[in-house]
Symmetry: none
DNA sequence: TTAGAGGTACCTCTAAAGAGGTATGTGGTT
DNA sequence: AACCACATACCTCTTTAGAGGTACCTCTAA
Protein backbone atom coordinates (compact mmCIF):
# COMPACT_ATOMS: atom_id res chain seq x y z
CA UNK A 1 0.00 0.00 0.00
CA UNK A 2 1.17 3.40 -0.85
CA UNK A 3 2.39 5.38 2.03
CA UNK A 4 -0.09 8.02 3.02
CA UNK A 5 0.29 11.70 2.31
CA UNK A 6 1.97 11.72 -1.01
CA UNK A 7 -0.90 11.65 -3.45
CA UNK A 8 -3.75 12.82 -1.31
CA UNK A 9 -2.58 16.33 -0.61
CA UNK A 10 -2.11 17.48 -4.18
CA UNK A 11 -1.13 21.11 -4.13
CA UNK A 12 -3.86 23.70 -4.34
CA UNK A 13 -3.96 25.43 -7.72
CA UNK A 14 -3.84 29.20 -7.79
CA UNK A 15 -4.67 31.85 -10.35
CA UNK A 16 -3.10 35.28 -9.96
CA UNK A 17 -4.99 38.29 -11.28
CA UNK A 18 -3.00 41.50 -10.98
CA UNK A 19 -2.02 44.14 -13.46
CA UNK A 20 1.52 44.48 -12.17
CA UNK A 21 3.81 41.90 -13.75
CA UNK A 22 6.52 42.45 -11.19
CA UNK A 23 4.22 41.87 -8.31
CA UNK A 24 2.88 38.73 -9.94
CA UNK A 25 6.41 37.51 -10.36
CA UNK A 26 7.21 38.12 -6.74
CA UNK A 27 4.10 36.47 -5.45
CA UNK A 28 4.58 33.55 -7.76
CA UNK A 29 8.11 32.98 -6.57
CA UNK A 30 6.95 33.18 -3.00
CA UNK A 31 4.12 30.75 -3.55
CA UNK A 32 6.36 28.26 -5.23
CA UNK A 33 8.39 27.96 -2.09
CA UNK A 34 5.40 26.16 -0.67
CA UNK A 35 4.85 22.67 -1.98
CA UNK A 36 1.21 22.78 -1.02
CA UNK A 37 0.56 25.64 -3.38
CA UNK A 38 0.98 25.94 -7.12
CA UNK A 39 0.41 28.87 -9.46
CA UNK A 40 -1.33 27.46 -12.51
CA UNK A 41 -2.12 30.68 -14.32
CA UNK A 42 -1.72 34.43 -14.29
CA UNK A 43 -3.80 37.23 -15.71
CA UNK A 44 -3.30 40.96 -15.91
CA UNK A 45 -6.91 42.05 -16.24
CA UNK A 46 -10.49 41.01 -15.69
CA UNK A 47 -11.04 39.42 -19.07
CA UNK A 48 -7.90 37.34 -18.99
CA UNK A 49 -8.70 36.45 -15.43
CA UNK A 50 -12.17 35.26 -16.25
CA UNK A 51 -10.91 33.20 -19.17
CA UNK A 52 -8.18 31.66 -17.05
CA UNK A 53 -10.58 30.92 -14.23
CA UNK A 54 -12.91 29.09 -16.58
CA UNK A 55 -10.09 27.22 -18.26
CA UNK A 56 -8.12 26.16 -15.21
CA UNK A 57 -10.78 26.06 -12.53
CA UNK A 58 -8.23 26.91 -9.86
CA UNK A 59 -8.82 26.11 -6.23
CA UNK A 60 -7.94 29.66 -5.34
CA UNK A 61 -7.88 33.01 -7.09
CA UNK A 62 -5.73 35.85 -5.77
CA UNK A 63 -7.33 39.02 -7.01
CA UNK A 64 -5.98 42.54 -7.01
CA UNK A 65 -8.55 45.26 -6.43
CA UNK A 66 -6.88 48.18 -8.09
CA UNK A 67 -6.85 47.47 -11.79
CA UNK A 68 -7.47 49.76 -14.77
CA UNK A 69 -10.65 49.39 -16.84
CA UNK A 70 -12.42 46.83 -14.71
CA UNK A 71 -11.62 46.87 -11.01
CA UNK A 72 -11.32 43.93 -8.70
CA UNK A 73 -14.82 44.08 -7.28
CA UNK A 74 -16.33 44.10 -10.72
CA UNK A 75 -14.01 41.30 -11.69
CA UNK A 76 -15.15 39.31 -8.71
CA UNK A 77 -18.77 39.79 -9.66
CA UNK A 78 -18.00 38.75 -13.21
CA UNK A 79 -16.33 35.63 -11.94
CA UNK A 80 -19.24 34.70 -9.72
CA UNK A 81 -21.78 35.47 -12.40
CA UNK A 82 -19.87 33.28 -14.78
CA UNK A 83 -20.24 30.47 -12.30
CA UNK A 84 -16.67 30.39 -11.04
CA UNK A 85 -16.76 28.69 -7.66
CA UNK A 86 -13.07 28.96 -6.83
CA UNK A 87 -12.18 30.51 -3.53
CA UNK A 88 -11.41 34.13 -4.25
CA UNK A 89 -9.06 36.05 -2.01
CA UNK A 90 -8.69 39.77 -2.55
CA UNK A 91 -5.10 40.88 -2.32
CA UNK A 92 -4.60 44.59 -2.30
CA UNK A 93 -3.08 47.65 -0.70
CA UNK A 94 -6.45 49.17 0.06
CA UNK A 95 -7.71 49.02 3.59
CA UNK A 96 -10.61 51.19 2.60
CA UNK A 97 -13.78 50.14 4.31
CA UNK A 98 -15.99 50.26 1.26
CA UNK A 99 -13.60 48.04 -0.60
CA UNK A 100 -13.44 45.47 2.14
CA UNK A 101 -17.17 45.40 2.65
CA UNK A 102 -17.91 45.40 -1.07
CA UNK A 103 -15.50 42.56 -1.64
CA UNK A 104 -16.97 40.42 1.11
CA UNK A 105 -20.48 41.05 -0.05
CA UNK A 106 -19.56 40.22 -3.58
CA UNK A 107 -18.53 36.83 -2.31
CA UNK A 108 -14.83 37.15 -1.54
CA UNK A 109 -13.49 34.36 0.64
CA UNK A 110 -10.73 36.47 2.04
CA UNK A 111 -9.14 39.89 2.08
CA UNK A 112 -5.41 40.20 2.51
CA UNK A 113 -3.26 43.30 2.49
CA UNK A 114 -0.17 43.44 0.35
CA UNK A 115 2.00 44.69 3.15
CA UNK A 116 1.76 41.50 5.09
CA UNK A 117 4.75 39.32 5.84
CA UNK A 118 5.56 36.69 3.22
CA UNK A 119 5.27 33.82 5.66
CA UNK A 120 1.94 35.11 6.82
CA UNK A 121 0.75 35.33 3.26
CA UNK A 122 1.69 31.74 2.61
CA UNK A 123 -0.04 30.48 5.68
CA UNK A 124 -3.12 32.55 4.87
CA UNK A 125 -3.22 31.16 1.35
CA UNK A 126 -3.00 27.65 2.68
CA UNK A 127 -5.87 28.32 5.02
CA UNK A 128 -7.87 29.85 2.21
CA UNK A 129 -7.25 26.90 -0.06
CA UNK A 130 -8.72 24.72 2.65
CA UNK A 131 -11.88 26.76 2.75
CA UNK A 132 -11.20 29.06 5.64
CA UNK A 133 -11.99 32.71 5.34
CA UNK A 134 -8.83 34.74 5.75
CA UNK A 135 -8.78 38.38 6.69
CA UNK A 136 -5.80 40.54 7.62
CA UNK A 137 -5.89 41.25 11.32
CA UNK A 138 -5.52 44.93 10.68
CA UNK A 139 -9.08 45.01 9.38
CA UNK A 140 -10.75 43.84 12.55
CA UNK A 141 -11.79 47.21 13.83
CA UNK A 142 -12.96 48.30 10.46
CA UNK A 143 -15.17 45.26 10.10
CA UNK A 144 -16.67 45.77 13.50
CA UNK A 145 -17.55 49.33 12.62
CA UNK A 146 -19.02 48.34 9.31
CA UNK A 147 -21.19 45.86 11.10
CA UNK A 148 -22.36 48.45 13.54
CA UNK A 149 -23.11 51.22 11.12
CA UNK A 150 -24.48 49.56 8.12
CA UNK A 151 -25.59 46.10 8.46
CA UNK A 152 -28.52 44.12 9.26
CA UNK A 153 -28.86 43.05 5.70
CA UNK A 154 -28.14 39.97 3.73
CA UNK A 155 -25.25 39.27 1.47
CA UNK A 156 -27.04 36.39 -0.16
CA UNK A 157 -30.24 38.15 -1.02
CA UNK A 158 -33.38 36.24 -0.24
CA UNK A 159 -35.49 38.73 -2.14
CA UNK A 160 -34.11 37.63 -5.45
CA UNK A 161 -35.54 34.17 -4.95
CA UNK A 162 -38.78 33.04 -6.55
CA UNK A 163 -41.43 31.42 -4.34
CA UNK A 164 -40.62 28.07 -5.83
CA UNK A 165 -36.98 28.47 -5.00
CA UNK A 166 -37.71 29.38 -1.41
CA UNK A 167 -39.93 26.36 -1.13
CA UNK A 168 -37.15 24.16 -2.40
CA UNK A 169 -34.68 25.67 0.03
CA UNK A 170 -36.91 24.61 2.87
CA UNK A 171 -37.04 21.08 1.58
CA UNK A 172 -33.29 20.96 1.09
CA UNK A 173 -32.90 22.15 4.67
CA UNK A 174 -35.15 19.35 5.77
CA UNK A 175 -32.52 17.06 4.36
CA UNK A 176 -34.55 15.80 1.44
CA UNK A 177 -32.75 14.59 -1.68
CA UNK A 178 -33.90 15.92 -5.04
CA UNK A 179 -35.90 12.83 -5.79
CA UNK A 180 -38.07 13.21 -2.72
CA UNK A 181 -38.43 16.93 -3.25
CA UNK A 182 -39.70 16.13 -6.72
CA UNK A 183 -42.27 13.68 -5.40
CA UNK A 184 -43.39 16.07 -2.74
CA UNK A 185 -43.95 18.85 -5.25
CA UNK A 186 -45.21 16.53 -7.97
CA UNK A 187 -42.59 17.61 -10.44
CA UNK A 188 -39.67 15.74 -11.97
CA UNK A 189 -36.27 15.41 -10.38
CA UNK A 190 -34.80 17.20 -13.36
CA UNK A 191 -36.90 20.24 -12.64
CA UNK A 192 -35.84 20.22 -9.04
CA UNK A 193 -32.25 20.23 -10.19
CA UNK A 194 -32.93 23.27 -12.32
CA UNK A 195 -34.33 25.15 -9.35
CA UNK A 196 -31.42 24.09 -7.17
CA UNK A 197 -28.97 25.19 -9.83
CA UNK A 198 -30.62 28.59 -10.09
CA UNK A 199 -30.74 29.22 -6.40
CA UNK A 200 -27.15 28.21 -5.88
CA UNK A 201 -26.15 30.80 -8.40
CA UNK A 202 -28.33 33.52 -6.91
CA UNK A 203 -27.02 32.90 -3.43
CA UNK A 204 -23.39 32.47 -4.48
CA UNK A 205 -23.27 29.18 -2.65
CA UNK A 206 -21.44 26.08 -3.74
CA UNK A 207 -23.57 23.16 -2.70
CA UNK A 208 -26.87 22.14 -1.16
CA UNK A 209 -25.03 21.64 2.10
CA UNK A 210 -24.13 25.31 2.18
CA UNK A 211 -27.70 26.18 1.29
CA UNK A 212 -29.01 24.09 4.15
CA UNK A 213 -26.61 25.59 6.66
CA UNK A 214 -27.34 29.10 5.51
CA UNK A 215 -31.10 28.57 5.61
CA UNK A 216 -31.04 27.09 9.08
CA UNK A 217 -28.92 29.89 10.40
CA UNK A 218 -31.18 32.49 8.82
CA UNK A 219 -34.22 30.72 10.15
CA UNK A 220 -35.56 30.27 6.66
CA UNK A 221 -36.05 26.59 7.16
CA UNK A 222 -39.67 26.58 8.25
CA UNK B 1 -18.17 61.62 43.46
CA UNK B 2 -15.08 61.89 41.48
CA UNK B 3 -12.62 60.63 43.94
CA UNK B 4 -9.79 62.67 42.86
CA UNK B 5 -6.30 61.58 43.36
CA UNK B 6 -5.04 64.92 42.35
CA UNK B 7 -2.10 63.68 40.30
CA UNK B 8 -4.12 61.62 37.89
CA UNK B 9 -6.85 64.10 37.32
CA UNK B 10 -6.25 63.44 33.66
CA UNK B 11 -6.45 59.68 33.96
CA UNK B 12 -9.41 58.03 32.26
CA UNK B 13 -12.11 57.01 34.72
CA UNK B 14 -13.38 53.49 34.57
CA UNK B 15 -16.43 51.69 35.90
CA UNK B 16 -16.28 47.92 36.26
CA UNK B 17 -19.48 45.94 35.96
CA UNK B 18 -18.97 42.26 36.67
CA UNK B 19 -20.64 39.86 39.04
CA UNK B 20 -17.38 38.23 40.11
CA UNK B 21 -15.74 40.16 42.92
CA UNK B 22 -12.43 38.38 42.48
CA UNK B 23 -12.26 39.21 38.83
CA UNK B 24 -13.09 42.83 39.56
CA UNK B 25 -10.33 42.90 42.12
CA UNK B 26 -7.83 41.48 39.68
CA UNK B 27 -8.77 43.83 36.91
CA UNK B 28 -8.74 46.77 39.25
CA UNK B 29 -5.26 45.97 40.47
CA UNK B 30 -4.08 45.58 36.93
CA UNK B 31 -5.62 48.84 35.83
CA UNK B 32 -4.09 50.72 38.68
CA UNK B 33 -0.66 49.82 37.46
CA UNK B 34 -1.36 52.21 34.67
CA UNK B 35 -1.31 55.84 35.67
CA UNK B 36 -3.45 56.78 32.70
CA UNK B 37 -6.31 54.67 33.95
CA UNK B 38 -8.28 54.80 37.16
CA UNK B 39 -11.14 52.67 38.46
CA UNK B 40 -13.70 55.03 39.96
CA UNK B 41 -16.48 52.58 40.69
CA UNK B 42 -17.50 48.95 40.62
CA UNK B 43 -20.82 47.23 40.27
CA UNK B 44 -21.90 43.62 40.45
CA UNK B 45 -25.11 43.78 38.50
CA UNK B 46 -27.06 45.82 35.98
CA UNK B 47 -28.87 48.04 38.45
CA UNK B 48 -25.80 48.97 40.43
CA UNK B 49 -24.00 49.48 37.17
CA UNK B 50 -26.60 51.87 35.84
CA UNK B 51 -26.66 53.83 39.06
CA UNK B 52 -22.89 54.08 39.14
CA UNK B 53 -22.72 55.10 35.50
CA UNK B 54 -25.16 57.93 36.11
CA UNK B 55 -23.40 59.04 39.25
CA UNK B 56 -19.78 58.89 38.13
CA UNK B 57 -20.14 59.43 34.40
CA UNK B 58 -17.03 57.37 33.76
CA UNK B 59 -15.03 57.70 30.58
CA UNK B 60 -15.11 54.00 30.14
CA UNK B 61 -17.28 51.12 31.29
CA UNK B 62 -15.93 47.59 31.32
CA UNK B 63 -18.93 45.33 31.08
CA UNK B 64 -19.18 41.59 31.63
CA UNK B 65 -21.67 39.78 29.44
CA UNK B 66 -22.42 36.80 31.53
CA UNK B 67 -24.31 38.00 34.55
CA UNK B 68 -27.30 36.53 36.37
CA UNK B 69 -30.69 38.22 36.16
CA UNK B 70 -29.86 40.84 33.58
CA UNK B 71 -27.15 39.95 31.12
CA UNK B 72 -24.55 42.24 29.66
CA UNK B 73 -26.34 43.00 26.42
CA UNK B 74 -29.46 44.03 28.29
CA UNK B 75 -27.37 46.06 30.65
CA UNK B 76 -25.77 47.82 27.73
CA UNK B 77 -29.16 48.68 26.29
CA UNK B 78 -30.29 49.98 29.66
CA UNK B 79 -27.24 52.19 29.89
CA UNK B 80 -27.75 53.61 26.43
CA UNK B 81 -31.46 54.13 27.02
CA UNK B 82 -30.64 56.01 30.19
CA UNK B 83 -28.45 58.35 28.20
CA UNK B 84 -25.09 57.07 29.36
CA UNK B 85 -22.56 58.15 26.77
CA UNK B 86 -19.48 56.56 28.30
CA UNK B 87 -17.45 54.28 26.11
CA UNK B 88 -18.59 50.76 26.84
CA UNK B 89 -16.23 47.88 26.29
CA UNK B 90 -17.58 44.39 26.65
CA UNK B 91 -15.20 42.14 28.53
CA UNK B 92 -16.12 38.51 28.52
CA UNK B 93 -15.13 34.94 27.89
CA UNK B 94 -17.67 34.48 25.13
CA UNK B 95 -16.46 34.51 21.58
CA UNK B 96 -19.92 33.52 20.46
CA UNK B 97 -20.89 35.31 17.31
CA UNK B 98 -24.35 36.26 18.44
CA UNK B 99 -22.92 37.86 21.51
CA UNK B 100 -20.33 39.83 19.61
CA UNK B 101 -22.77 41.02 17.01
CA UNK B 102 -25.46 41.80 19.54
CA UNK B 103 -23.03 43.77 21.65
CA UNK B 104 -21.80 45.81 18.73
CA UNK B 105 -25.30 46.49 17.50
CA UNK B 106 -26.33 47.55 20.95
CA UNK B 107 -23.62 50.16 20.79
CA UNK B 108 -20.55 48.62 22.38
CA UNK B 109 -17.33 50.44 21.64
CA UNK B 110 -15.21 47.39 22.05
CA UNK B 111 -15.24 43.70 22.68
CA UNK B 112 -12.36 42.12 24.56
CA UNK B 113 -11.88 38.54 25.61
CA UNK B 114 -10.93 37.74 29.15
CA UNK B 115 -8.17 35.42 28.13
CA UNK B 116 -6.06 38.20 26.70
CA UNK B 117 -2.67 39.14 28.09
CA UNK B 118 -2.71 41.76 30.87
CA UNK B 119 -0.45 44.14 28.96
CA UNK B 120 -2.66 43.82 25.94
CA UNK B 121 -5.69 44.56 28.04
CA UNK B 122 -4.12 47.72 29.39
CA UNK B 123 -3.14 48.96 25.99
CA UNK B 124 -6.58 48.15 24.64
CA UNK B 125 -8.23 50.04 27.47
CA UNK B 126 -6.04 53.03 26.81
CA UNK B 127 -6.98 52.94 23.16
CA UNK B 128 -10.63 52.62 24.08
CA UNK B 129 -10.43 55.55 26.47
CA UNK B 130 -9.08 57.57 23.58
CA UNK B 131 -12.08 56.75 21.48
CA UNK B 132 -10.78 53.90 19.42
CA UNK B 133 -12.87 50.83 18.93
CA UNK B 134 -11.03 47.84 20.33
CA UNK B 135 -11.75 44.29 19.33
CA UNK B 136 -9.79 41.17 20.18
CA UNK B 137 -7.96 39.97 17.09
CA UNK B 138 -9.33 36.53 17.55
CA UNK B 139 -12.72 37.78 16.42
CA UNK B 140 -11.68 38.99 13.00
CA UNK B 141 -12.85 36.06 10.99
CA UNK B 142 -16.04 35.84 12.91
CA UNK B 143 -16.88 39.45 12.18
CA UNK B 144 -16.14 39.05 8.53
CA UNK B 145 -18.48 36.11 8.36
CA UNK B 146 -21.16 38.01 10.19
CA UNK B 147 -20.91 40.70 7.57
CA UNK B 148 -21.44 38.14 4.90
CA UNK B 149 -24.19 36.72 6.93
CA UNK B 150 -22.85 33.28 7.28
CA UNK B 151 -23.41 32.66 10.90
CA UNK B 152 -21.59 30.15 12.83
CA UNK B 153 -22.50 29.16 16.29
CA UNK B 154 -20.65 27.09 18.74
CA UNK B 155 -21.48 25.00 21.67
CA UNK B 156 -21.61 21.62 23.28
CA UNK B 157 -21.75 18.25 21.70
CA UNK B 158 -23.38 14.96 22.31
CA UNK B 159 -22.94 11.31 21.67
CA UNK B 160 -20.84 8.38 20.85
CA UNK B 161 -18.82 10.20 18.26
CA UNK B 162 -15.06 9.93 18.18
CA UNK B 163 -13.02 13.18 18.15
CA UNK B 164 -12.22 12.63 14.51
CA UNK B 165 -15.86 12.27 13.66
CA UNK B 166 -16.79 15.45 15.50
CA UNK B 167 -14.05 17.23 13.67
CA UNK B 168 -15.42 16.05 10.37
CA UNK B 169 -18.93 17.07 11.31
CA UNK B 170 -17.71 20.60 11.78
CA UNK B 171 -16.11 20.63 8.39
CA UNK B 172 -19.20 19.21 6.75
CA UNK B 173 -21.21 21.92 8.43
CA UNK B 174 -18.85 24.48 6.97
CA UNK B 175 -20.00 23.24 3.60
CA UNK B 176 -16.74 21.58 2.64
CA UNK B 177 -16.81 18.67 0.23
CA UNK B 178 -14.92 15.51 1.15
CA UNK B 179 -11.96 16.43 -1.01
CA UNK B 180 -11.30 19.65 0.88
CA UNK B 181 -11.87 17.97 4.20
CA UNK B 182 -9.24 15.45 3.20
CA UNK B 183 -6.72 18.15 2.32
CA UNK B 184 -7.41 20.00 5.48
CA UNK B 185 -6.82 16.95 7.61
CA UNK B 186 -4.03 15.60 5.42
CA UNK B 187 -5.76 12.31 4.87
CA UNK B 188 -7.23 10.77 1.75
CA UNK B 189 -10.70 11.45 0.48
CA UNK B 190 -11.41 7.76 0.90
CA UNK B 191 -10.71 7.97 4.59
CA UNK B 192 -12.95 10.96 4.94
CA UNK B 193 -15.69 8.93 3.33
CA UNK B 194 -15.16 6.20 5.87
CA UNK B 195 -15.58 8.64 8.73
CA UNK B 196 -18.65 10.17 7.13
CA UNK B 197 -20.11 6.74 6.63
CA UNK B 198 -19.56 5.84 10.25
CA UNK B 199 -20.98 9.03 11.64
CA UNK B 200 -24.02 8.82 9.44
CA UNK B 201 -24.69 5.42 10.86
CA UNK B 202 -24.16 6.48 14.45
CA UNK B 203 -26.42 9.47 14.11
CA UNK B 204 -29.05 7.62 12.10
CA UNK B 205 -28.89 10.29 9.45
CA UNK B 206 -29.14 9.78 5.73
CA UNK B 207 -26.90 12.38 4.18
CA UNK B 208 -24.31 15.03 4.88
CA UNK B 209 -27.01 17.64 4.42
CA UNK B 210 -28.88 16.20 7.37
CA UNK B 211 -25.66 16.12 9.34
CA UNK B 212 -25.01 19.78 8.57
CA UNK B 213 -28.51 20.86 9.53
CA UNK B 214 -28.41 18.84 12.71
CA UNK B 215 -25.02 20.17 13.70
CA UNK B 216 -26.01 23.77 13.14
CA UNK B 217 -29.22 23.37 15.08
CA UNK B 218 -27.41 21.68 17.94
CA UNK B 219 -24.84 24.40 17.83
CA UNK B 220 -21.96 22.02 17.45
CA UNK B 221 -20.48 23.43 14.34
CA UNK B 222 -17.35 25.58 14.60
C1' DT C 1 -1.62 -12.17 25.43
C1' DT C 2 -5.74 -11.40 23.17
C1' DA C 3 -9.56 -8.41 22.01
C1' DG C 4 -11.51 -4.23 20.82
C1' DA C 5 -11.71 0.62 19.39
C1' DG C 6 -10.07 4.08 16.52
C1' DG C 7 -7.76 5.82 12.54
C1' DT C 8 -6.00 5.14 8.18
C1' DA C 9 -5.90 3.28 3.25
C1' DC C 10 -7.65 0.97 -0.75
C1' DC C 11 -11.17 -1.46 -3.60
C1' DT C 12 -15.63 -1.66 -6.28
C1' DC C 13 -20.11 -0.07 -7.47
C1' DT C 14 -24.39 2.70 -7.50
C1' DA C 15 -26.78 6.76 -6.66
C1' DA C 16 -27.03 11.58 -6.27
C1' DA C 17 -25.69 16.12 -7.36
C1' DG C 18 -24.64 19.65 -10.32
C1' DA C 19 -23.25 22.16 -14.86
C1' DG C 20 -24.44 22.63 -19.54
C1' DG C 21 -27.97 23.04 -22.96
C1' DT C 22 -32.77 23.38 -25.49
C1' DA C 23 -37.68 23.78 -25.33
C1' DT C 24 -42.67 24.60 -24.09
C1' DG C 25 -46.59 26.83 -21.74
C1' DT C 26 -48.58 30.51 -19.00
C1' DG C 27 -49.41 35.06 -17.05
C1' DG C 28 -48.12 39.79 -17.05
C1' DT C 29 -46.02 44.04 -19.28
C1' DT C 30 -44.94 46.99 -22.67
C1' DA D 1 -48.03 41.49 -30.76
C1' DA D 2 -43.73 40.96 -28.63
C1' DC D 3 -41.36 40.40 -24.51
C1' DC D 4 -40.06 38.54 -20.02
C1' DA D 5 -40.03 35.91 -15.74
C1' DC D 6 -41.28 31.61 -14.03
C1' DA D 7 -42.02 26.87 -13.88
C1' DT D 8 -41.73 22.88 -16.18
C1' DA D 9 -39.47 18.90 -18.88
C1' DC D 10 -35.79 16.43 -21.01
C1' DC D 11 -30.98 15.77 -22.61
C1' DT D 12 -25.85 14.83 -21.81
C1' DC D 13 -21.86 14.76 -19.06
C1' DT D 14 -18.72 14.94 -14.93
C1' DT D 15 -18.01 14.98 -10.23
C1' DT D 16 -19.32 13.83 -5.52
C1' DA D 17 -21.42 11.01 -2.11
C1' DG D 18 -22.24 6.92 0.03
C1' DA D 19 -22.52 1.61 0.83
C1' DG D 20 -20.08 -2.48 0.89
C1' DG D 21 -15.84 -4.89 2.00
C1' DT D 22 -10.64 -6.03 3.49
C1' DA D 23 -6.55 -4.74 5.71
C1' DC D 24 -2.96 -2.79 8.79
C1' DC D 25 -1.32 -0.23 12.78
C1' DT D 26 -1.50 1.64 17.53
C1' DC D 27 -3.16 1.87 22.01
C1' DT D 28 -5.70 0.28 25.88
C1' DA D 29 -8.34 -2.84 28.68
C1' DA D 30 -9.44 -7.45 30.05
Amino acid sequence: MTDHNEENASAASILLIDDHPLLRKGVKQLIELDSELRVVAEASNAHEGLAAALEFEPDLILLDLNMPEINGIETLKMLRDAGVTSRVVVFTVSDNEEDVVAALKAGADGYLLKDMEPEELLSSLNQAALGKMVISDRLTTLLAEALQNKRTKKGPDISSLTPREKQIIKLISAGLPNKLIARKLSITEGTVKVHVKHLLKKLHLRSRVEVAVWAVQEGLDK
